[in-house]
């Protein structure tokens, strides 16, 4: 029997359509303004998070607390500074000892981070033309620290090898000089051991500061989260309060309702973005090399796509609790997959689809590009934001139309 309804009949005038859309926009804005606490937390909250992050995060990892075991009789230096200098900033050599058992125990009980055990027969093996092995062990469950320990080990072994080559070269040159004469001393032993050195230069237009790098990322995440949470609850409330019946009876179309809501939350998100963005640039001194126009354009696209996520959540969720849960899931997914913490390229190929389906992934990349580099290096990301926004808008529209058409 009759379960569907048409919204058609007489085509409304453009003016009436605008009046209806504006009614939703005005209503939503008034509701937010009437809750000054919400407004304050919308604007001050994100800034405060970034401010605390900026002043609190040093970006410098503490060096590994290291103990080195050198067996008795091995002719290796026993000064802690010597080994610390082999991997500068990465090792905090606390003790040089011959007690391997004790050192292993301290590693297991996590009193130290890193244990280096020198081989007992290094010199004889070298002279015999065989490699010797340095045992390096660590006790880490943190995968990042695990990788860093491996890196520190590589640097240490490489430096140690160079030291050994340098010593050997020095001995060889002295021997040759005695046999052949001073002609062989033209190449210094350190050049033989380290024939090249690196001259490094970071050509980035902005210095690689922690706050500058993470500022745009936090900003993008905040904009997405605001837009998602604000909108996720709005339609759920309309449904639970019985307003949908009023909308069904009134000559309102789903498009007018949806665009009205979009406009309201777009205005809110952009105001928050403008204030927080200004604080970011003017107070936290994050560069804005790309200029305010492209910055505003990216924020607009990110907001548009994020509003779509929020509205879709609000149309799918059955209760406010579920809407909040889905918004939090979105935030969690964004933190992990957006490149906020770990680069997107670190993920397996198929997982990257999840990353690129999130508006914030494109928001972070393009905002970092434009703020720190002066231009968007991957313009397709802007199109991706637009595409996500359009798809979600159409999805929300269809879902809303279904809700308005189909009776309970």
């Amino acid at each position: 029997m009759a379960e569907r309804r048409r919204t058609g009949g007489v085509r409304p005038s453009l003016g009436q359509t605008f009046v209806r859309m504006a009614s939703f926009t005005g209503k939503e804005l008034r509701e937010v303004v009437r809750r000054p606490g919400v407004l304050a937390s919308l604007i001050l909250g994100p800034f405060l998070i970034m401010f605390l992050f900026g002043i609190g995060y040093t970006g410098v990892r503490a060096p590994f607390i290291t103990e080195i075991v050198i067996p008795e009789g091995v002719a290796l230096p026993r000064e802690a500074e010597y080994y610390a200098d082999l991997a500068p900033g990465r090792l905090d050599v606390r003790e040089i000892t011959a007690d391997r058992e004790g050192a292993e125990q301290r590693l297991r009980s996590r009193e130290i981070d890193l244990l280096i055990v020198a081989p007992e027969n290094a010199t004889s093996e070298l002279r015999a033309g065989r490699q010797t092995t340095i045992r390096v062990a660590w006790n880490q469950v943190d995968p990042v620290y695990d990788q860093l320990a491996g890196l520190a080990t590589t640097i240490l072994v490489s430096s140690l090898n160079a030291e050994i080559v340098e010593q050997a070269a020095e001995e060889g040159i002295s021997f040759a000089a005695g046999e052949i004469g001073s002609a062989v001393t033209n190449v210094p032993p350190e050049v033989i051991a380290r024939p090249t050195t690196a001259e490094t230069e970071n050509v980035s237009l902005s210095p690689p500061l922690v706050l500058s790098f993470f500022g745009p990322a936090v900003f993008a995440l905040v904009i997405q989260h605001l837009a998602v949470t604000l909108t996720a609850l709005s339609m759920v409330r309309e449904r639970l309060s019985g307003q949908m019946d009023r909308f069904r009876v009134a000559p309102v179309s789903s498009m007018e309702l949806l665009v009205g809501k979009y406009m309201a939350y777009a205005v809110l998100s952009l105001v928050v973005a403008a204030v927080v963005g200004a604080l970011l640039v003017l107070v936290l001194n994050v560069p804005l090399l790309g200029g305010p126009l492209i910055f505003a354009g990216i924020v607009l696209l990110l907001t548009f796509a994020s509003l779509g996520v929020g509205l879709l959540i609000s149309l799918v969720a059955d209760s406010e609790r579920q809407a909040v849960q889905l918004s939090m899931l979105m935030l969690l997914a964004s933190v992990f997959f957006s490149g906020f913490v770990l680069p997107v390229t670190d993920f397996a190929g198929w997982t990257q689809y999840i990353s690129y389906a999130l508006p914030v992934t494109h928001g972070i990349a393009t905002l970092q590009d434009t703020m720190l580099g002066g231009e968007v290096s991957q313009p397709w990301m802007l199109l991706a934001l637009l595409g996500i926004g359009v798809v979600l808008y159409v999805g929300s529209l269809l879902r809303l139309r279904r809700i308005l058409r189909t009776a309970d």
Partner: protein, 323 residues
């Protein structure tokens, strides 16, 4: 609506309901809580589909309402569903805008709607700060703001005090007098008095549909006279008076007489009692309360259904025996 049914799974909320509302009148849909009133209103407004039957409002099927038809109707839901963080006039303005009324025209309409429900003084108060009765009136103002031709008003007086109830009904009757058509649901049977026509429903079925006076007649089978005498009376004293259908005696000096025509029977009753040396102290038409009417009609319907079931059972019994 014609033979309309609505079922939720196996539960039939409205069963074979037929109603017709005259333009410019108030139809009261009266019944106890859970009798199917709100379901009926929601089907009439197109917010709920039906599982059987036909409905026409302003000549259109509610599930296929055109924008023009939707612009001519209004729905006041049972529960307060306006925005608590908006003021009274902002709420009315929002609803007006839903009907495409621009800001300039809206201003005067909002003022007028608030005047009708006597909320002008409270126009700047947030809806959450209004009392329950004021919120109901605000809902009514929202329903009125676009000057609808047809209003569906779901339990406007639920949870309100008698004074406010009277005031709301005054407003509804004024709207009727202005030429609007109203369908009003209520669980207060006594409010049937305010309606031009009353549909009594119970368990999703129509018990009766008529004017309030006719419903009374329907229960008692005629007009009812209450006779108060100076001394003890007996029903037999009225034997032989034509048109009397039934006599009951609630007290030794009181008779309740059901008659086909009160006007012609009244002088005959006085005369008959005078012949028995009984002086009549008072004789007036008895107005049964609608609680009595409703109870009587429901009991009549149940009795009729019982008889039908018994008759059907009796008709089946020989067939079974034959088989």
């Amino acid at each position: 609506m014609d033979h309309v049914t609505r079922a939720f799974g196996d539960d039939v909320a409205v069963n074979d309901l037929s109603l017709h509302v005259e333009p410019g009148s108030i139809l009261g849909l009266i019944g106890p809580s859970g009798s199917g009133k709100t379901t009926t209103v929601r089907m009439l407004t197109g917010t709920l589909g039906r599982t059987g039957g036909e409905i026409r409002v302003l000549g259109e099927d509610p599930m296929e309402f055109s924008r023009r038809a939707r612009g001519r109707i209004a729905y006041m839901p049972q529960l307060f569903s306006l925005y608590e963080d908006l003021t009274a006039q902002e709420n009315v303005g929002f609803v007006a805008a839903l009907y495409g009324i621009g800001p300039f025209k809206r201003r005067s309409l909002i003022r007028r709607a608030l005047e009708v429900v006597d909320l002008t003084e409270a126009k700047d108060r947030l809806a959450r700060n209004l009392s329950g009765g004021m919120q109901r009136r605000l809902e009514l103002a929202c329903a009125l703001v676009h000057s609808p031709d047809v209003l569906f008003v779901d339990e406007p007086t639920a949870g309100t005090d008698p004074m406010l109830r009277q005031s709301i009904w005054d407003e509804l009757r004024q709207l009727r007098d202005d030429g609007r058509t109203l369908l009003v649901t209520t669980q207060y049977v006594g409010e049937a008095e305010y309606c031009d026509q009353v549909a009594l429903i119970a368990d999703g079925e129509l018990v009766a549909l008529d004017t309030p006076d006719e419903l009374r007649r329907m229960v008692f089978g005629g007009e009812v006279l209450e006779v108060n005498a100076q001394r003890t009376v007996e029903p037999e004293m009225l034997d032989g008076i034509p048109g009397i259908l039934r006599i009951s005696q609630p007290g030794p000096r009181q008779l309740v007489v059901t008659t086909e025509d009160a006007a012609s029977t009244t002088p005959r009753i006085v005369e008959a009692l005078r012949l028995h040396s009984v002086e009549v102290l008072g004789l007036a038409e008895h107005q049964p309360t609608f609680d009595e009417v409703f109870t009587g009609l429901v009991e009549q319907q149940r009795a009729m259904r019982q008889r039908e079931e018994q008759a059907a059972g009796a008709a089946q019994a020989p067939a079974v025996a034959d088989g």
